[in-house]
């Protein structure tokens, strides 16, 4: 399977994503330059973390108009899988691939820390390897991660089971204290209505080896591999 990782000016997790695919998953990965118009026949697109275009104006707002994003949007429209991580989630929201927006953390602080998450829906392309309700630990590192959408949109996402991950405390409880950024309903990641575009603030590509704190991110990539190959 071939993964394409988009490099925007300011992306800084593109190599982590590359390493996740090539070293941990054992699959093929190519970098897709933001100015290119060709997805190079990849099966899956990853929008990686970072600070594309310096986060000027709003996180993701300018990257969204990169030439490659036209191809990414067409890929998504055809049902092709897209995973947006951190800044990639912000870009996917700005591009309209996912609903809502990510605003400044409620604390106004950049938060870099491992967080507990619960897997809310394991019947998706991105989470099928997890158990429903499974608690996992992934790192977050962001200043603009407060997921926000209007009430009707939130209702639609919730009632369709489109929340992938929620922030929880060590006991698995969805408490305000466990919410690192003030996200609505403790939402850490969502999936599109058609199920092929996912966005999440936590970094699965930084949680691939236990020696580095957690290997809970690996199952996400393995889920995608199994789902796309099927």
């Amino acid at each position: 399977m071939k993964f394409g990782i988009v490099t925007f000016p300011g992306s800084n997790c593109d190599y982590d994503a590359y390493r996740a695919i090539v070293d941990s998953l054992g699959e093929e990965a190519v970098y897709l330059w933001h100015k290119d118009h060709d997805l190079m026949a990849v099966d899956v697109v990853i929008l990686p973390g970072g600070f594309s275009y310096g986060d000027y104006l709003r996180a993701g707002a300018i990257a969204r108009f990169s030439p490659i994003m036209r191809e990414v949007a067409a890929h998504a429209k055809r049902g092709g899988p897209v995973l947006g991580i951190c800044n990639g989630f912000q870009i996917a929201c700005e591009a309209g691939l996912l609903p809502g927006a990510l605003l400044r953390n409620e604390s106004l602080k950049f938060v870099s820390a491992p967080v507990h998450l619960s897997v809310e829906n394991n019947r998706t392309l991105f989470t099928s390897g997890y158990r429903r309700g499974q608690q996992i630990t992934l790192p977050i590192a962001h200043g603009d991660g407060r997921y926000t959408a209007d009430d009707a949109t939130l209702d639609a996402i919730e009632s369709a089971g489109r929340v992938l991950f929620r922030y929880v405390d060590g006991n698995g409880e969805q408490s305000p204290l466990a919410n690192p950024n003030g996200s609505a309903n403790n939402i850490a990641g969502i999936v599109s209505g058609k199920g092929n575009v996912a966005g999440m603030m936590p970094h699965p590509e930084r949680a691939l080896e236990r020696v580095l704190g957690s290997d809970d991110g690996l199952l996400l990539f393995e889920s995608m591999l199994a789902g796309v190959a099927a």
Partner: protein, 85 residues
């Protein structure tokens, strides 16, 4: 074509939590500005653009806001009248 200057104000959508505004309001209170009820921190953009007339310049600025400058999910915008440079 004439060169126009258009000022745009972008503010957080009313009702959304605005932690920056709350922090600034707290600082103003501690400075003794006890009358301050609410503060909203947004962005102010000044754009110079060629346009046929002031209405066209404002219409162009409106389009810029809906397509790029303001997020329709979370922000409101206001456009001041366009003035020739």
């Amino acid at each position: 074509m004439t060169l126009f200057r258009v000022a745009i104000h972008i503010t957080p959508r009313k009702g959304l939590l605005d932690p920056q505004g709350k922090a600034v309001a707290g600082a103003l209170h501690s400075l003794g500005f006890v009358g301050v009820k609410e503060v909203h921190v947004g962005r102010h953009l000044v754009i110079e653009t060629d346009a046929a007339d002031a209405d066209a310049a404002a219409a162009s600025a409106r389009s810029m806001c809906t397509r790029l400058l303001a997020n329709p999910v979370t922000e409101d915008f206001e456009i001041d009248s366009a003035t020739p440079r």
